[in-house]
Symmetry: C2
Subunit: 107 residues, 2 copies
DNA sequence: AGCCTATTTAACTAATAAGCTAAATAGATT
DNA sequence: AATCTATTTAGCTTATTAGTTAAATAGGCT
């Protein structure tokens, strides 16, 4: 979860995802669309891959990158649901009442 | 956008949002639920507030924090839509074809 | 083999982020 | 006024991140 949101917390990486949402591209084609050096782009790509948001497929000397679309939508939608469950009323709660609930703590 | 995803790229901050999804809480009540020092928690809260995900309301000596629920769901859903538009087919695309499209570059 | 293109890894620098303790601010209480 | 509680700000340390250039790896071409 941390890996996914960290991966998304970067404008160039979100732009990469946007490019890949239209089509799959090679590392070089992606790099062509940015000012950054190729090694920097490569690092961004590996962060996205490590987060499970994209996949790589080597074909000859080229590496083709493409989106793993379900991963992204499932994660975001699932998280939004878990934090803002539809119809959950927002109620004030005192410290005492909170103690009766079994929200996890880090202790 | 960067601010929102950066704010979400942190387990303690996502946990804070989860607590606040059930109810609004004071800074101290939130702090009680973590091992961290109060200053650290305070910083997390200000990052979340700065991202527009939560709001603070001072009442006497206490500061009450609560979720801005629309902000989170709208952002995540909107982003998921933009990157994975429903029904968009994933097609291979060569460099030449890509140039005809007007995807923005950083140049 | 030798070279050219595509991509990644290594090594480094500079900026950012997370945590801490100690001190400052602000409101409530005696 | 003095003090207590709640919360944030300041200043510091350490770890992580984004970018760089230079070198390594791997595949294709002559």
């Amino acid at each position: 979860m941390d890996k996914i949101f960290s991966a998304l917390a970067s404008t160039p990486r979100r732009r990469i995802l946007a490019y890949l949402s239209a089509t799959s591209l090679t590392a070089g084609e992606i790099s062509d669309r940015f000012e950054m050096s190729k090694p920097s782009l490569s690092k961004h790509l590996s962060i996205l891959e490590n987060a499970g948001l994209i996949m790589r497929e080597k074909k000859g000397q080229f590496v083709h990158y493409s989106l793993k679309p379900d991963k992204l939508t499932n994660t975001l939608h699932g998280f939004a649901q878990s934090v803002c469950p539809a119809g959950a009323p927002l109620v004030k709660e005192s410290k005492e009442i909170a103690k009766q609930r079994d929200l996890p703590t880090s202790r």
